[in-house]
């Protein structure tokens, strides 16, 4: 037996994760459940559900602890039993009680673990309002899941859980979907389990080894000494071969610990476990999995009604979990994989007479699994093409402030893949349309034409709009893409489109203008050399594509090109309205001439004054989207993160335009990088005071601002060298803004190691200017 749970092990320390048991019963009767079916039977004497008073007391204890330790973030897992046994109104009340005191002192991340059986829109709405992410338990395909996850009457829960997951995947609730929790049974087929989990499109999957101890060892059929390693390895290989389509926490953790990073889980790795459970009646307990050890194992004897979290943190069984590898058995401490395994899950180490001072009962499996996973990963990475992790210097290239053509070309390719995926997802969400069928049919023989059209920056902006709403009205946009691709491929097609406020856009080809600003269904026929748009009342607009000029109802795409630079003016596509300012309407020739002159002069300035910025701009900037001028005459320009390759601006003279192009394209480059990699903790809501705005900025906005303003500082530094009289003062201002914001960003602690590296390189570039 371990020492009495009430043993004190020294000083208090911070705990940041709290599992709150809001309901003590469950509507399933799974035979592998650690709450009801294992040694600890204390559930029988515990409160059925957490009362509001207990929830309030618990939250106050957590808040008081968070304030004392200045915790930047507290994680609360709403757990059971089955939390959805509280009705939506009850859950709403309880979560409100939990949130109020904690959010008054720190940030709160809320998740819920549920069997999903009762999940409904009413629950979804409550959880959405409180921003609670939902993890659902599913053990695999029907056979695997229903082997254990059954109702008291013996019937399986598979259909109910799948219905819940289907609801969680709808646009209304997709944000809530945290992932799946799958308990392993080696009698299940690993391939079928993997496929069934994958089919639910979870953001993440966690595999749990079934609870076992040295007193109650796990099932090991057929005399295989390491069946759990074998079972998981099948899935690991398949997952690597599939391109890691979902996150699997166990494998992500092993990949991370193999490189010396954190495991992100208490199952493996030496991350400190700073977690405590709060039971329905307010009792503090250790991790639930300890229930598997012996009756009363997790009890601490303390309660939120009478004790602070600090007092719990001093208890030996809680404190020992903070010690990482140093707190493990002698066998584990001398084990070659101890940094990756760290004795496995605490509960699995229990052995009568030795307490938890042993290796895991899964020791043999863990050894083999870790070695094999490392080896399989090495082999996979050696075989993989270099693109799969990105060019080694992509971060360096962008952090330097510039980026060569190859780097920007690579980022552009990634952005195109993003667009392809999003377009496919709109069809998954809204169903196939004639435009989609035409587009995909064209792709078979004319992939280049389809690629060209999908490279239009606003395709992604359109797709994001479609995926954020349940409204499928905008789907005929795909017909415009198909017609445009057909024009490029000189192939006849006919498909549905939509006249949107008088406009039908054929991205990269041109824009059709209906005589009235109506929104209505229409049909387009693209013949080689001709377009025919048939709208309401059978009215037909015809375009002779062999004639280069514009007409009242037709504006061919306009390109401006010079000295290796080339952009298209986009003044037709309704999806371009994503820049935060009003787009200019169709430009006349005079206005386009103005852009032509300004751009040509601005490009010359960039080529001569700022040549390092030119390659990236030339390779990446493909579209200018003119804006309505500011009524007060101020400059306006913006970059939409969902439209890589495009930049919006109000008309402006060449010198200003050169700075705007450089400044805005910095945003585009960094935006594309942030699409791919985490440079900061997306959950962080740290705010940073910056020179260029009066209000403080979130981390990503500050990072973007620093990156773009550093470039502007660089512009004025170079102009100072050319004796521009305004330059010294402007350089000093932008330089100070940049340096101060870099320091502030570093202080937030919200940067990932990659983000730290990025900011460090940026700081080095800026520092090099002073010398």
């Amino acid at each position: 037996m371990p020492g009495p749970a009430g043993d004190e092990a020294g000083g208090a320390h911070p705990l940041s994760q709290f599992v709150m048991k809001v309901h003590g019963r469950c509507d399933l009767k799974c035979d592998h459940c650690y709450v009801y079916e294992h040694a600890d039977q204390s559930w029988m004497i515990k409160a059925r559900a957490m009362s509001k008073d207990v929830a309030r007391a618990a939250a106050r204890r957590v808040a008081e602890h968070a304030a004392r330790w200045r915790l930047p973030l507290v994680r609360v897992v709403v757990h059971g039993g089955e939390p959805l046994l509280l009705r939506p109104a009850g859950l709403d009340e309880l979560i409100t009680e939990i949130r109020t005191p904690i959010e008054a002192v720190t940030r709160l991340s809320l998740t819920m673990q549920t069997n999903g059986v009762r999940f409904s829109p009413a629950f979804g709405d409550v959880l959405k309002r409180h921003r609670v992410r939902v993890g659902v338990s599913l053990d695999g395909d029907r056979e695997a899941n229903d082997r254990h996850r059954r109702f008291a009457n013996g019937s399986g829960s598979f259909d109910q859980v799948r219905a819940a997951l289907a609801l969680l995947r709808t646009p209304a609730y997709r944000d809530l979907y945290a992932g799946l929790l799958c308990t392993i049974d080696v009698r299940n087929s690993p391939e079928r389990v993997y496929e069934a989990l994958l089919a639910e499109q979870p953001p993440a999957v966690d595999f749990l080894l079934p609870h076992a101890t040295w007193d109650n060892p796990p099932l090991r059929p057929d005399g295989d000494a390491t069946p759990y390693a074998s079972w998981l390895s099948v899935i690991h290989r398949r997952w690597l071969a599939d391109g890691r389509p979902m996150r699997i926490r166990l494998f992500d953790g092993l990949h991370s610990t193999a490189r010396g990073g954190p495991s992100g889980s208490e199952q493996l790795g030496a991350d400190t476990v700073d977690m405590v459970v709060i039971e329905t009646g307010g009792e503090y307990e250790q991790a639930d999995s300890v229930k598997t050890a012996y009756d009363g194992a997790p009890a601490t004897g303390l309660s939120v009604l009478t004790h602070s979290v600090d007092e719990v943190s001093r208890l030996r069984p809680i404190a020992v979990r903070q010690r990482g590898v140093a707190g493990l058995s002698a066998v584990c401490r001398s084990c070659p994989v101890v940094q990756q395994c760290a004795g496995g899950l605490y509960a699995h180490r229990f052995r009568s007479g030795h307490g938890f001072d042993s290796p895991s009962v899964y020791c043999a499996d863990l050894r083999v699994l870790i070695d094999r996973t490392n080896e399989e990963t090495r082999m996979h990475e050696a075989d993989a093409k270099p693109e799969e992790t990105g060019p080694a210097d992509v971060i360096d290239q962008i952090a330097s402030g510039f980026g060569d053509e190859a780097t920007i070309g690579w980022l552009t390719e990634q952005e195109r893949s993003v667009t392809r995926a999003l377009v496919a997802a709109t069809v998954e969400q809204h169903g196939e349309t004639t435009g989609w069928l035409t587009l995909t049919a064209l792709e078979q023989g004319h992939a280049g034409a389809v690629r060209h059209v999908l490279a239009h920056p606003y395709v992604r902006a359109w797709a994001v709009g479609m995926l954020r709403t349940g409204d499928h009205e905008g789907m005929p946009y795909l017909g415009g893409l198909a017609a445009a691709a057909a024009v490029h491929a000189s192939v006849p097609v006919e498909t549905d489109v939509r006249i949107e406020r008088g406009v039908v856009t054929l991205p990269t080809v041109g824009t059709l203008y209906w005589p009235e600003p109506i929104t209505a269904a229409a049909r387009i026929a693209a013949e080689p050399g001709e377009l025919r748009l048939t709208g309401p009342d059978g009215v037909v607009l015809t375009v002779d594509l062999s004639q280069p000029g514009a007409a009242a109802h037709w504006q061919p795409a306009r390109h401006i090109a010079r000295d290796g630079w080339s952009v298209r003016i986009e003044d037709g596509d309704p999806a371009r309205d994503c820049h935060g300012w009003t787009p200019a309407q169709r430009l006349d020739d005079h206005a386009v001439g103005h852009w032509r002159d300004s751009l040509a002069a601005a490009w010359r300035l960039i080529d001569t004054e700022l040549p390092e910025y030119a390659p990236a701009l030339r390779a990446g900037l493909k579209v200018i989207m003119p804006l309505e001028p500011d009524p007060a005459g101020r400059q306006r320009a913006s970059t939409a993160m969902d439209a890589f390759g495009s930049l919006s601006a109000a008309p402006v003279g060449p010198a200003e335009l050169a700075v705007l192009l450089v400044h805005e394209f910095q945003h585009a480059k960094l935006g594309a990088l942030l699409d791919l990699y985490d440079l900061h903790d997306p959950d962080s809501d740290a705010r940073i005071t910056v020179g260029w705005k009066t209000e403080s900025r979130p981390v990503e906005a500050a990072l973007q601002g620093v990156y773009a303003h550093a470039a502007v500082a660089d512009v004025w530094r170079r102009r100072a060298a050319r004796d521009d009289p305004r330059a010294p003062e402007l350089y000093a201002m932008y330089h100070r803004w940049t340096v101060d914001a870099i320091a502030a960003l570093r202080e937030t602690g919200a940067l990932t190691p990659l983000g730290d590296d990025f900011v460090g390189r940026m700081a080095a570039t800026v520092a090099s200017w002073d010398s």
């Binding site: 991790a287 992790t389 990634q414 995909t440 792709e443 101020r634 939409a640």
Partner: protein, 57 residues
């Protein structure tokens, strides 16, 4: 017990697969990974939608 702490995510692997796949054959699970990172960022993951410049004068 599921008390996850996120390890940094990246999209490069899934995108490499998508890049080589015809539109029709893009698998829902690959696309949904992109959707989560790119689209579902408003409420839970704070991403910048637009970076705008407006001169002060």
């Amino acid at each position: 017990m599921n008390t996850e702490v996120a390890t940094p995510d990246n999209l490069v692997g899934p995108l490499a697969v998508i890049n080589e796949t015809p539109l029709r054959e893009i698998r829902a699970e690959h696309a949904s990974r992109v959707v989560r990172r790119i689209v579902d960022k408003e409420s839970l993951l704070k991403r910048l939608d637009v970076a705008a410049f407006q001169s002060a004068h």
